[in-house]
């Protein structure tokens, strides 16, 4: 029995030891995304964006004369697995920088570990305000906060006919949904728009009839829908079914791509707040970068609409590469220092970080661009 045990322990220790002695040639960059589970669609798109960014970087000679290697770890759409994935990337793969973790809840879960292990993380999607205001100096967010999105949207109000007068909300019951509800409420309320009913749903809910029927009874003319892409698709379909009869605006930058091939019946137009509109790369702030990204993606034969979210991974990788160049070495603290100095052109636009949060403990926050895309009978347009 003792023999078995020593054998077992030796077997355990061996991979850990041999790995430690293996000085990796490529620079490892860790990423955790929801590759399976409730929000898997978006997570896979972001991961794909990062993969092609790694290829593009390596095709042009890598970073600091070394190739970059993206190490991708699934967080299974679950905050606890997100922590486990981050620990694995930092402790076992010894990555000096992380990208993650799609949902605000997953990102918030990982944040104490960043402090513990002193590793910076590029936040590519999460929108909750408290990510950059809680005093974590290892967090650098390229994604917009819900507030930025809401304020930017409020500037576009004049483009809607008939005008938006009263709004309601259908939001997923987590940081993402609640944050968007609160910030759009404030930003549009400040423009004199009346606020109606708010309905919430759990992330795994599929039958939303009860929520939509309740919203139908309210006198709002526009409903803001905030959730992952799967539930967006379900909600848009069921809104038609229950004759919601109101304008729907989705927030958060996800696009219900399955409705391109399986469109809603004629007469239903939905509005989508996006951070990259791949149908119109020539109208992006940096068309050449957007076109390169779009071309690489299409060459893979991936779902075209995934481009709307894939750019997040792409831009995050470009940001990491830029920080590595500025740092001169793949070390966590050096990368963190360098992130404050980066200025680069990404698919979404210019990327640089401004300080947010309590003095001495600031997190970095980028100011991204927002566009509104319309979807009608499987065709897209730019508002």
């Amino acid at each position: 029995m003792m023999n078995r045990r020593t054998l077992l322990l030796a077997g355990l220790a061996m991979p850990a030891l041999s790995r430690a002695g293996f000085a990796a040639d490529p620079i490892r960059i860790g990423m955790t995304q929801p590759l399976t589970g409730a929000v898997a669609a978006s997570g896979n798109y972001v991961a794909n964006g990062a993969k092609i960014a790694a290829e593009v970087l390596n095709a042009s000679g890598g970073v600091l004369g070394r190739p970059v290697e993206l190490i991708l770890e699934d967080n299974k759409s679950n905050p606890r697995e997100a922590v486990a994935a981050a620990e694995k990337l930092v402790l076992r793969d010894k990555v000096p920088v992380l990208i993650g973790a799609w949902s605000s809840t997953f990102t918030l879960a990982i944040m104490p570990k960043l402090m513990e292990y002193k590793v910076p993380m590029i936040v590519e999607t999460s929108s909750a305000a408290r990510i950059t205001t809680s005093g974590n100096p290892w967090v650098f967010r390229i994604a917009p906060t819900s507030e930025m999105e809401a304020v930017a949207f409020a500037e576009l109000l004049g483009k809607f006919t008939p005008a938006i007068r009263k709004i309601g909300f259908l939001s997923v019951n987590n940081d993402f949904g609640r944050g968007a509800t609160e910030k759009f409420w404030a930003a549009l309320g400040a423009k004199g728009i009346a606020i109606g009913r708010t309905e919430t749903m759990t992330p795994e809910a599929t039958d939303l009839a009860a929520q939509i029927t309740a919203l139908k009874q309210s006198d709002a003319d526009t409903v803001f829908l905030t959730t992952g892409v799967e539930q967006q698709t379900l909600a848009l379909r069921q809104a038609v079914e229950q004759r919601l009869g109101k304008r729907i605006v989705t927030t958060g930058g996800s696009f219900p791509d399955q409705l391109l091939a399986n469109p809603l019946p004629p007469g239903n137009t939905s509005f989508h707040i996006l951070f990259y509109a791949p149908w119109f790369p020539e109208r992006a702030p940096h068309p050449r970068i957007a076109e390169r990204y779009t071309a690489e993606w299409n060459r893979k034969g991936w779902e075209f609409a995934g481009l709307t979210e894939g750019f997040r991974g792409y831009d995050a990788m470009l940001t990491v590469a830029e920080a590595l160049k500025a740092a001169g070495k793949p070390e966590a603290e050096a990368i963190r220092q360098a992130l404050w100095t980066v200025k680069l052109a990404g698919v979404n636009g210019d990327i640089s970080f401004a300080k947010e949060g309590p003095a001495g403990q600031e997190s970095g926050q980028n100011r991204p661009n927002v566009s509104v895309v319309t979807l009608s009978e499987g065709k897209t347009g730019l508002l």
């Binding site: 029995m1 077997g11 030891l17 679950n78 486990a84 402790l91 879960a109 944040m111 104490p112 759990t202």
Partner: protein, 325 residues
């Protein structure tokens, strides 16, 4: 298994962080250890009373939430304009709260569920954990719902000469989990060897006979359920302060299944069964990580469960112990 061999095993595990101070190895062993404590507690119900409780993760999750909430503090409305306000408490109090709350629910479930047996009991225990998950998801004021309880403080201990120290380091947490696991093991051994244990074994063998000779069936089953739930709650508390985040998914059925697999493959109704099964299945995910996708891990788990129940129903430990004789 002889006592000496057992203590030798514990000593070897205790020396491990000194010999191989690899933080990832320790992280993996610590997580496995927490689940092994859960499996040890489940074994008391599953192995010794013969009750297939498939809601065991409920006690684990209750312990995690109770401990996290006690140390973070909370402020909730309890109706009629009253509010219940609890200031943040020290972690050891949270640990006690976890045991008490989980044990209390163990008593409740014991009273309710032992009115019915067999398939009914199993389905009720599954639903019980599911109801708790729903509550955790939706009682946002208390549990933060899907936003999860975050920034839970790490465990802290009073150490001679050092005062209160917070256990941030991997080796500290590893030793803490090891110590609690040893205590849980000794407690279950004590229960099993006591009058309660003998009554339980009599019940499992022949309930009508046990009743007829005057063994108070419900009483002993409820006692076993409370002890089992209390240990699971302690494991939940360790989990909360080690991972430092608790979310409603802690109540997922799959975690009960993990513990059941550990007990069944190791050998239910044997003291070492959950430890052996727990080491095998607690370490497997990380040995497979990188070589196989996560789905493969669960396919292996499922297949192992089927094969063990069909071909080695008594588990690994009885098979090993019987061989020398």
């Amino acid at each position: 298994m002889s006592t000496l061999l057992g203590w030798g095993f514990v000593a070897a595990l205790a020396a491990l962080p000194l010999l191989f101070p690899d933080p990832y190895l320790l992280a993996v062993l610590t997580s496995a250890g927490i689940f092994i404590i859960g499996a040890i507690s489940l074994n008391l119900l599953l192995g010794y009373t013969g009750q297939l409780s498939l809601g065991h993760v409920a006690f684990f999750g209750l312990g995690a939430y109770a401990s996290a909430l006690a140390t973070l503090g909370f402020d909730i409305a309890i109706g009629f304009g009253w509010r219940l306000v609890v200031a943040p408490q020290p972690v050891w109090l949270g640990f006690l709260a976890a045991i008490v709350v989980a044990g209390g629910f163990g008593w409740l479930l014991g009273r309710l569920a032992f009115r019915v047996r067999g398939a009914y009991f199993v389905i009720i225990t599954v639903c019980f954990a599911q109801v708790l998950r729903m509550v955790a998801l939706n009682w946002v004021e208390l549990t933060q719902g899907p936003m999860a309880l975050i920034s839970i403080p790490p465990f802290s201990l009073w150490w001679p000469g050092e005062g209160w120290i917070a256990l941030y380091r991997k080796d500290q947490n590893y030793w803490l989990v090891l110590a609690v696991a040893v205590l849980a093991f000794l407690l279950v051994r004590q229960v099993v060897r006591s009058r309660i244990g003998r009554a339980l074994v009599a019940l499992r063998a022949n309930e009508p006979l046990a009743r007829s000779v005057g063994i108070r069936v419900t009483h002993y089953l409820v006692v076993a359920a409370v002890i089992s739930a209390g240990i699971a709650g302690a494991a939940g508390s360790l989990f909360a302060h080690y991972v430092r985040i608790v979310d409603p998914d802690v109540f997922l059925f799959i975690y009960t299944v993990t513990m059941v697999i550990m007990v069944v493959t190791g050998g239910k109704g044997t003291l070492w069964g959950p430890v052996v099964g727990g080491l095998v299945f607690g370490l497997m995910p990380d040995l497979l990580r990188g070589t196989a996708p996560p789905e493969a891990q669960w396919i292996i788990y499922g297949t192992a469960m089927i094969l063990f129940v069909m071909f080695l129903p008594r588990g690994i430990v009885p098979a090993l112990v019987r061989r020398p004789s």
